[in-house]
Symmetry: C2
Subunit: 450 residues, 2 copies
Amino acid sequence: MAKDTSETRTDLEHVLAALEAGTVRQVQRLVGALHPAETAHLLEALPTAQRRIVFDLVPEGDQGEVLVELTDDVRASLVEGMEASKLVAASEDLDLDDLADFVGGLPEAVTAQVLHSLSQRDRDRLNAVLSYPEDSAGGIMNPETIAVRADVTLEVVMRYLRMLAYLPDKTAAIFVVDRNDRYMGALHVSRLLTRDPASVVGDVMDEDFPPIPASMTDTEVAREFKDRDLVAAPVVDERGQLIGQITVDDVVDVISEQADEDIRRLAGLAEEDDMFAPVFTSARRRAVWLGINVATAFLAASVVGAFRPTLDQVVVLAVLMPVVASMGGIAGNQVVTLMVRGLALGRIEDSNARWLLAKEIGVALINGTGWAVVAALGTRLFTDDWVVGAIVGAALVVNLLTAAITGFAVPLALTKLRIDPALAGTVVLTTVTDCVGFAAFLSLGTLFLT
Amino acid sequence: MAKDTSETRTDLEHVLAALEAGTVRQVQRLVGALHPAETAHLLEALPTAQRRIVFDLVPEGDQGEVLVELTDDVRASLVEGMEASKLVAASEDLDLDDLADFVGGLPEAVTAQVLHSLSQRDRDRLNAVLSYPEDSAGGIMNPETIAVRADVTLEVVMRYLRMLAYLPDKTAAIFVVDRNDRYMGALHVSRLLTRDPASVVGDVMDEDFPPIPASMTDTEVAREFKDRDLVAAPVVDERGQLIGQITVDDVVDVISEQADEDIRRLAGLAEEDDMFAPVFTSARRRAVWLGINVATAFLAASVVGAFRPTLDQVVVLAVLMPVVASMGGIAGNQVVTLMVRGLALGRIEDSNARWLLAKEIGVALINGTGWAVVAALGTRLFTDDWVVGAIVGAALVVNLLTAAITGFAVPLALTKLRIDPALAGTVVLTTVTDCVGFAAFLSLGTLFLT
């Protein structure tokens, strides 16, 4: 049932209270009443120790489905501690589709056992999925599809379906293939239901419904689904043979995971960081970024250090240094974020890049000059010195221009080098804006104040 | 057709080249051959001036659909310059569903004209959608649904559908209502096709398929769809009457827009910033954040200013100041990002917040101490002075702890105050880490070095 959001106690509160009270049976009852997706949601909001306990109380028949619903990181942490036999049992009630996702993260020995427990036909199909990269159309597809021939009538199709007596609940189309299993078009269920039963599939099918090549990346698949408002699409191998289908719920996962990834990476969280992972795990994961920052911060400090004689003479420069650097960081971060998303959404190409660069330089000049005047006035109030104000202003313009050019060029260059621009972009950017900001400000100071 | 990504020239390159050559007819031919979603994609990657020209070359019958596919911001910029008659014409070929999105952004006079051009029935339905907030289930629903009664047989339903002779291509379920139009359950098309035609709808329908209340927010709708892997869901009003349905393609848009919003806001881009907007528009939108930053940067500078006598004596402190502040900023940003996403995904509640705070403090102590040692050693190399190194290290620990607590508390507090934590979180955080970082470092410096 849909949850009533106004209920006074959330599932999480109930479970935490029951765990605290040690009433295991109550937790079991609570968890048993939840839908697997709800259980997954609950587990994701629990600290690791409690998570393990609660997961063990999930009814065995549901464990597989719950695991499939979890984010990769949380799933991995639970799978780690499970016995092989339990993992095989958990995999038993899964669709081939979910099973493919699931075994991807299992130890090889367990995967072999799971494969062994399947029928030859299912094993072949599962192996087909596993032979493609996890982030490709072949890797996310469901190898179970229903295919019909073009030369039969709708009536025959309907009889066939009734004979099968099973069609997944979300089916909106079945696919039409020739006798070599090559994909020809889609037969929308809506047409099957509304057209004359005597008509031939070939005349009713949607030929303008292109298949997705198994080698397409999941990002491109997601874009196809979004652009074409698809609910399901056929997947074909390089010979054009129908080998599976992708349904929109898989794509929804891809879209939200990718956006989440970009968000995390822009903040310097390289690996998926489960909020509720143990302290040491999280500390280790975040340490990398802090370590890189220690190094780049000392680089920036050494730029400042080169101007020690100046700082010795004009200490007010030390006071105002952070203003220049932080403005560059903020402005550059805005540009990097727009570039990263523009690249992710496929909106930036060589043909419009030059225009974009010109635009970003324009924005930087406008905001640079505008805020330079404000900062100069602010400095004047602060220091009673017009020269220092002018230097702050000039350094700001230089640094905002640097931020615009760096923010534009770094993500593009990283993408060409096949380095994730979200992850590396911000660190390169802040290093550049810090160093250039300090250098510009302090060399102007050296020129005019010493 | 799916585009061949290996083709040597992209649509964008073709169009830009043709625009440059001034061969309008060629642009027209190129654009005429594209699917509306592809045209929208192309328009989004064009600078505003060219965008207007290309849009005017889109076949009139497609303009409405193209507008619907565009992001809000780009759509608004195009609609602004269009004549009322053209807008009414563009709205003519739209589904009610898309029409509802579309008229939401039109001037009132045009909306009235559009409504006037509809049949009474469609007008009532459209008004029903418009009466709900844009970001609610009622606002994103499609008021066109097909409903049947529970007491008829599947055969009757199939005859009825054949008589209607129309069912949207993506239909996976039709809905069952009682004689007061109250929603009772879903009749999956798959079951309609596979079950005995003599069976009664009431026996075949899925009663465990809860409807979505029209007042539910689109974020909650998206979560329901993700959790329940839905393709379509019925929408009911407060009396339980079926008033429309939401299909997954609308939800996909909600999910990607929300993630995009979080990304933008974390980078201080409050309004939707169309990358290809004119320079002045973008400059104005980004100026706000820079302005706030000027103010907070001067706040931080005034903290530094309070220690001028110390800086006068020990200038090396000025050199190392940025190290302490930037480490706090990075660490705090990681925490804010995790909190913002955790809150957006509904994983943080009062009941697990205390655990999270304890965890973040733990992470900060581990990373703080670890990198403090490294930074102290680095400082020793840099300055040949152990005391300064120890001060850097101690200030780092203090600042990382501050960053953890602030990064945890600020998004929670902002959410309770109904202020967007993504937007305001980072600015509050950096202000705090800058000020505390400088104060801790310089007061330790004052204590031990002067």
